[in-house]
């Protein structure tokens, strides 16, 4: 990427040496890299006198083993429990109040752990200083750890009554059966309960490194001043070995050797309405970036409300709920990309759900995908043109607030790379029909799905025999989680 020289800023902080910000294709966004490898992104937006400070690490459930499943989430909690500067959680919280922090939190996901808050823009440097202690010098007091193990265990147990969580866990367990812990952010309560300070220190020394982190600052700020502040508070943070030098083996593709059928009696659905999903392993973005662009263009194309895909599947499968709730998408991940097709439908005893999902929905979708591959006119030039327009519109929408762009950028930095994100729109615009066809051929037509039905328990009872005879396994809170199997 071409480097551009920010003359005015360089003059302003000449004492620190010349400052170079990498140009970015996004208006107001500046990119820097500290000597220790920490990437810094600064977004100027002067709408309100606030600054969002966010720091993100490339780790999460992706870096878990059966023995550490849940510890990255526990670590995230422990970062709020005290550090060399603010020794207790109370001091930590009090300091944030003193800074005028209005909103703060941390989050653990499959492929990143992130921490953020919003401070008055006049306190941007104090905010950067504040997080530096937490990131670099957490205390991990054993007594605090014991308390937090209870808090996190409560959270894990709460998931057992969350239908979406139970369903997601069951799908991940089926589709990623070789390494399900790499998709399970909450993890295993027993692992969380047995965590020690040593295990947390191991995570720190392996993943909480400047060369495995990115700092995002957005709002009413001057980019080069922020760069100087970042050097001040993060410049001496010592880099470590690249934790990604030897990546773990990818999840197998296909995710399952033969189709797997699941049914989840789900109280979150009313009687009479069910949900069907067909999910495949998709490309992992770092290993196979090219099909991911095609996948995303395809995702936009099939969203078209009156497009051929929605219309044909809706008309082809009896008893579907509404075209708006029928679709497909590709979910970008570094380690666990997925392609999904979904629909809501009405329950009808004359049209058993087991066969509607297993045969009719699957066949209708597959037939359309085959047509997309073989028929060059399936998507018109105008439809491709609309996708390109939508990509530009999305950038305008993302720029409304610093938070929106920072969250988007943080995701892409973690899951792929910033260059992937910056080149995203140009690469998307280069996607042609042949690229879409190649993606679909490999990741749908030659792939094997997990097919799942979510249905109200009363409706399930009425069709339980049909589900059993069709080879569906029943999902419950006891069967959905890999760590409850007793096999790991």
């Amino acid at each position: 990427m071409k480097r551009s020289f920010a003359l005015a800023a360089a003059m302003a902080i000449a004492a620190l040496g010349l400052v170079y910000a990498d140009g970015t294709p996004i208006q107001g966004l500046h990119r820097y890299r500290l000597d220790n490898g920490l990437e810094l992104f600064v977004l100027e937006n002067h709408a309100v006198p606030l600054t969002r400070v966010q720091i993100t690490f490339r780790c999460g459930s992706i870096t878990q083993t059966p023995e550490t499943a849940g510890l990255f989430h526990l670590y995230e909690h422990m970062l709020f429990k005290g550090n060399s500067r603010y020794r207790t959680e109370t001091e930590f919280s009090a300091a944030m109040t003193d800074l005028g922090v209005a909103e703060w939190n941390g989050g653990t996901s499959t492929e990143y752990v992130t921490y953020y808050f919003t401070v008055p823009s006049a306190k941007t440097e104090a905010g950067l200083e504040f997080w530096s202690y937490a990131m670099r010098e957490p205390l991990f007091d054993p007594a605090e750890l014991q308390i937090e193990q209870g808090v996190v265990s409560n959270e894990i147990n709460g998931f057992l009554s969350d239908p979406d969580h139970v369903y997601s866990s069951a799908m991940d367990k089926a589709l990623f059966s070789k390494y399900p812990w790499r998709r399970d952010i909450g993890g295993n309560e027993a692992v969380v309960r047995s965590a020690t300070v040593a295990t947390l220190r191991s995570i720190q020394s392996t993943y909480y490194l400047p060369n495995n982190a990115a700092l995002f600052v957005g709002g009413d700020v001057d980019p080069d001043q922020v760069y100087a502040m970042a050097r001040q508070w993060y410049g001496t943070w010592k880099a470590g070995a690249d934790p990604w030098k030897t990546p773990a083996p990818p999840h197998p593709t296909p995710g399952v050797p033969k189709p797997v059928y699941l049914v989840y009696p789900d109280e979150s659905l009313p009687e009479g309405i069910a949900y069907i999903e067909m999910r495949y392993r998709g490309p992992d973005v770092v290993i196979e970036p090219k099909p991911t662009y095609a996948a995303d263009v395809w995702g936009y194309l099939i969203q078209k409300p009156d497009g051929a895909f929605k219309t044909a599947v809706f008309d082809g499968v009896p008893g579907l709920y509404d075209k708006d709730y029928l679709g497909g998408y590709y979910y970008t991940q570094r380690d666990g990309g997925q392609v999904s097709f979904y629909t809501y439908c009405f329950v009808d005893k004359d049209k058993p759900l087991a066969s509607r999902a297993q045969s009719l929905f699957k066949e209708a979708v597959t037939a359309q995908i085959s047509k997309m591959v073989s028929d060059q006119s399936y998507f018109s030039d105008a439809e491709f043109g609309i996708v390109k327009q939508k990509l530009e519109d999305e950038q305008i929408l993302n720029l409304e607030t610093p938070e929106k762009l920072i969250e988007t950028l943080s995701f892409w930095w973690s899951v792929a790379s910033t260059d992937y994100f910056f080149n995203y729109v140009p690469n998307m615009k280069r996607v042609e029909r042949a690229d879409v066809a190649a993606f679909l051929r490999k990741f749908v037509l030659s792939n094997v799905p997990v097919v799942a039905v979510r249905v109200n328990p009363a409706d399930f009872e009425a069709e339980a025999d049909a589900f059993a005879q069709s080879g569906y396994a029943t999902v419950t809170a006891d069967t959905a989680f890999w760590w409850k199997d007793g096999t790991k």
Partner: protein
């Protein structure tokens, strides 16, 4: 490409995407969007203590606004203009050239007071159906435009007192989308097929909400608390009430109540106010008054009580919430309580979660509806009874004039006077954070207009907060929170409910003045 659990459709159904659930550390979950019908509790000890407590008849806060508006108000006033449309409706325009988003909100006062509990959700359904196509632009055309132009026409019903029809688009698409939006408001199609879909959307959303133990707790608590009050008509409806509503009900409600006499139009973006007013006069400005009388919304009757509700799937984890009446939104005590709750939140977190590890999160809130109420919440706890005691301990500290010592040192707590400025700054920043998008700013303007009769009232917020003293905070907490008649609910599985010590909920257990 997907980054999060996304609402793929236009309505209330959420498609559970493959996207991994992100776990946050300690955020407060959002308030439930919808509600559920009344179900008899498994156990209740209603009337556990008699309500001898009374709301103050006059404000206990003594703060006064300065005669000169603060810098924030002075800076923003010139960006806001008003016009009166041909039908007498006020148009409020806030110019924001900082981004390319155009947001419009056509808001209607009235809400729950206009519908009976057996038809609860009627206004929300009517507005949702208005966003499902007009006689000129059928829903399919609307959907095509929204997809191709990255825009959204929808409705918001998230308050007991008002609801709105909304348009969010990008500057370059405004003319095209506004035409469609206005036609939806003026000539809704009320297509029977779309009515069926909207009705099902509401049912699915309600069922989903009720499968969440916290949402279930809130709904069941409000069933009890608002019985006989206009708020008994839950704004999102219940499974039963939504099933009761017919397309004819919707058409009739539109004909009777969607009128100029309860409307205000708010626009935020890089608008030209005169040009916009001209566009509106030719369209929405033609909507006549309907002679709607909005019944007054009085106070709900407070009731000290404990309700225990069984939720089998929540094994070993309880959800605790207590609601109670607070100061009127126009009272000086309301902003005082908002600031006080900000202080209380940190005490709650420090004592209930940090010191005792008793929950995933804990918080307090002041809801500024026409019949306002406060809330205390302990979210995901395995110690519901003890947690209630620690909540009271936190309240007692604040009522005794103490907050967390945010400056550090040997003492964990410090006098409010020494910390209040930091809490004010924090609260003001939260205020800024709630108006970063044009749609959020439109909501602030509409809320100010509908509750205060003055769209600029929200601009005084910072001045109000800055005028509050430590004495005001102590007085408000003692008057409105300590010994308040709180309706508590605990939701968990039967085994956990069996461990609840009901006496802990039998009134305030903190000791004020001993800290």
């Amino acid at each position: 490409m997907m980054r999060s659990i996304a609402n793929m459709g236009r309505g209330a159904l959420v498609v559970l995407a493959a996207c991994a659930l992100a776990f946050s550390c300690a955020s407060s979950p959002a308030a439930p969007a919808v509600a559920e019908p009344a179900v008899e509790p498994t156990d209740a000890t209603a009337g556990a203590s008699e309500a001898v407590w009374k709301l103050p008849e006059t404000p206990v806060s003594t703060w006064k606004l300065a005669s000169t508006p603060g810098a924030y108000m002075q800076a923003n006033l010139p960006t806001i203009e008003t016009r009166v449309l041909a039908n007498g409706v006020t148009l409020i325009v806030k110019k924001n050239p900082a981004n390319r988003i155009f947001s419009m909100k056509v808001a209607f006062r009235g809400g729950s007071a206009l519908v009976s509990p057996d038809k609860a959700g009627l206004e929300a359904m009517t507005l949702a159906l208005m966003a499902r196509g007009s006689t000129t632009y059928p829903y399919a055309e609307l959907q095509r435009l929204q997809y191709e132009k990255s825009s959204a026409i929808g409705s918001t019903a998230s308050s007991y007192d008002w609801a709105s029809l909304d348009l969010n688009t990008i500057d370059k698409y405004w003319d095209e989308l506004f035409k469609v939006f206005a036609d939806c408001a003026l000539n809704p199609a009320f297509d029977p097929a779309q009515f069926a879909v909207v009705q099902n959307d509401f049912k699915v959303a309600i069922q989903k909400s009720m499968a969440d133990p916290y949402n279930y707790a809130v709904t069941r608590l409000h069933d009890k608390m608002f019985a006989g009050h206009p708020y008994a008509a839950e704004f999102g409806g219940t499974a039963a009430s939504i099933s009761n509503i017919t397309l004819d009900d919707v058409k009739s409600y539109y004909a009777r109540t969607i009128g100029a006499d309860r409307m205000v139009v708010v626009a935020v973006g890089n608008f030209d106010a005169d040009a916009l007013a001209a566009s509106l006069n030719a369209t929405i400005g033609a909507i006549p008054s309907k002679g709607v009388t909005i019944p007054p919304v009085g106070r709900f009757t407070p009731k000290a009580a404990l309700y225990l509700e069984k939720f089998d799937k929540s094994k070993g984890v309880a959800y605790v919430r207590g609601d109670f009446p607070i100061a009127d939104i126009k009272s000086p005590d309301f902003p005082t309580l908002q600031l006080a709750y900000s202080m209380l939140d940190e005490l709650l977190f420090s004592i209930v979660r940090t010191d005792h590890g008793a929950c995933y999160s804990v918080w307090s809130r002041a809801f500024g509806f026409l019949s306002p109420y406060g809330s205390l919440v302990v979210y995901k706890t395995d110690k519901p009874s003890a947690a209630k005691g620690w909540v009271d301990e936190s309240i007692a500290l604040l009522a005794s004039g103490k907050t967390l010592n945010i400056k550090g040192g040997a003492d964990k707590y410090a006098p409010i006077a020494s910390t209040i400025d930091a809490y004010k700054a924090k609260y003001v920043n939260a205020f800024f954070g709630n108006q970063e998008t044009n749609a959020q700013t439109a909501t602030q303007l509409a809320t100010s207009y509908l509750y205060f009769g003055d769209h600029t009232e929200y601009l005084r917020f910072i001045d109000k907060i800055n005028a509050i003293s430590a004495q005001d905070v102590v007085a408000a907490v003692n008057a409105y929170v300590v010994n308040a008649p709180i309706s508590w609910i605990v939701v968990a599985d039967q085994a956990t409910l069996a461990t609840v010590d009901k006496t802990r909920f039998d009134g305030f257990t903190g000791t004020v003045g001993q800290h």
